[in-house]
């Protein structure tokens, strides 16, 4: 349940100093790409906030998103967010089970009406009255509609909840749809990715707590702080792309030299996410740094984009075919290719946004 004390009062009693708040705020400002001067306002905002009630609903999903946000390591500054929220329902993590778990959800909704946040991972099946995924005897659709009724905001985490994801991939046998196709009267923040970067999830919650408002979102409802730039734009291999230096296979000299993975299927040019800057596993690495192209998992319909190992020019039948020539032509073509890639992305988004609903019907 949410504590009536402010987070500042609550944590002061536990010996957590305002210096620790300020350190957390500096970290949060940095991952949100806010200026360092925002740290003081974030620290003050969190200190004055109440512990945020969160109800986490898991539908057609693999629990990868939960694994991502609860990644195991020593207690640290990144984990403070879990002191700031009251996770009142999460059927994988909570102690209660059966009817007691469902009572906890209903109690949290009653106690925090209009103030709680609903986090959803997983898509929602609509085909055959939604019978393909049920919890506690009701369909995911019923549980979602019932739970968001008095929510302050909804956060859809993972590509299943944001775009339909793998359950919604062709031929979409369960009629899976994203949360945004069902919830139309509440603010929805999409944190896409398979799974999303942990900092994108915790940073967004910290923003809500600090400022009491929704962060600036892109056209797909994703926080611009994390999804404002293409992976390609911040990739450390970008200089090789500009020079036309590409790996042609995973065991050639180009791959060994760490050259650009565009020609072995990297979707970095059309994928908007913060993998190249925030990275994974506490900043250790990200797929491209580990030698594999980006799969584009934070974009709509990434599973159906034509093949993980086909270059963008051939994977989608796009006129980018000539972009393979960038290997020879270098920087000039590289810049033009990036423009075309963005155009291609916008087309993919439009197609992706329509697809789940069409198949659900």
């Amino acid at each position: 349940m949410s504590d009536k004390k402010t987070l500042g009062e609550m944590l002061t009693e536990r010996g957590v100093s305002r210096r620790t708040f300020l350190k957390y705020a500096s970290y949060t400002a940095s991952i949100l790409a806010l200026p360092p001067t925002a740290a003081t306002a974030i620290a003050q905002g969190i200190a004055n906030a109440r512990r945020q009630s969160v109800i986490w609903l898991s539908f057609q999903e693999c629990t990868g998103c939960t694994e991502s946000i609860t990644r195991a390591h020593t207690p640290s500054i990144e984990d403070l967010i879990f002191d700031f929220i009251s996770l009142d329902y999460h059927h994988t993590l909570m102690n209660a089970s059966g009817h007691l778990a469902e009572e906890a959800r209903l109690q949290a909704m009653a106690d925090n009406a209009g103030e709680y946040i609903v986090i959803v991972d997983g898509s929602v099946p609509l085909k055959d009255d939604g019978i393909y995924s049920t919890i506690a005897g009701i369909t995911n659709l019923q549980m979602l509609q019932e739970t968001v009724k008095d929510a302050f905001a909804v956060i859809a985490v993972g590509s299943c909840a944001t775009f339909g994801g793998i359950p919604g991939a062709h031929p979409n046998p369960t009629g899976a749809v994203p949360v945004s196709e069902i919830v139309t009267d509440k603010p929805i923040i999409n944190i896409s990715g398979c799974p999303p970067i942990p900092e994108a999830m915790t940073g967004t919650i910290a923003y809500l707590l600090s400022f009491g408002s929704i962060p600036e979102l892109d056209e797909l409802g994703r926080p611009k702080a994390f999804y404002g730039e293409a992976i390609h734009d911040r990739c450390y291999r970008r200089p090789f792309y500009e020079r036309g230096m590409f790996a042609r296979s995973f065991d050639d000299e180009g791959a060994r030299q760490g050259w650009c993975l565009y020609e072995v299927g990297c979707k970095g040019p059309v994928t908007y996410n913060a993998c190249a800057t925030l990275k994974w596993n506490g900043g250790v690495s990200f797929p491209i740094q580990s030698g594999h192209g980006c799969l584009g998992c934070s974009e709509p319909n990434f599973w159906d984009m034509g093949g993980f190992y086909k270059p963008l020019s051939t994977a989608t039948g796009d006129p980018l075919k000539w972009a393979g020539g960038a290997a020879v032509a270098g920087a000039a073509i590289g810049a033009a290719s990036a423009v075309l890639a963005r155009t291609k992305r916008n087309k993919a988004i439009k197609a992706g946004a329509r697809k789940p609903s069409q198949e659900a019907k």
């Binding site: 305002r18 210096r19 500096s26 640290s76 990144e78 760490g258």
Partner: protein, 134 residues
């Protein structure tokens, strides 16, 4: 110093960014001297290679004050060899650098005792004295 999360092939190359950041610090320091207005740079937001970071750290050097803090993980704060230019390094999980910033100011806010903490400390000390007298 080896940056914890840098790509291996970037770590050995200096790109000239250190000198650009140094020029910005110089402008901020002159502003601080003239008007007292502080300035801040989030180093994590900049595309610095390991070599750039090491070069910047070497160019700024270390001054009279160096502090280690334990705030949900280790933090280090030091005044560089240029008075008023402070380097703050926050470490997170596994001791990795979570965020790092340059503060151009008289003293970083992080080092000041917060009124709320002072009030709580006064209460604890008062209680300690009362308990001791009993």
């Amino acid at each position: 110093m080896q940056r914890d999360n840098a790509a291996p092939c970037l770590s050995e190359r200096a790109t000239g960014m250190a000198l650009s950041v140094l020029a910005e610090i110089s402008r901020m320091l002159e502003t601080l001297a003239d008007s007292g207005e502080p300035g801040f740079i989030d180093l994590r937001s900049l595309p610095l290679s390991d070599a750039d970071r090491a070069q910047l750290e070497a160019l700024l050097g270390r001054g009279e004050v160096q502090l280690e803090l334990e705030l949900a993980g280790a933090s280090e704060v030091w005044e560089t060899s240029y008075s008023g230019v402070w380097w703050t390094r926050h470490r997170g999980a596994g001791g990795k650098i979570a965020t790092e910033e340059i503060s151009v100011c008289r003293i970083p806010e992080l080092l000041l005792s917060h009124p709320v903490d002072i009030e709580a400390a006064a209460g604890r000390l008062r209680q300690e004295l009362e308990t001791t007298h009993v």
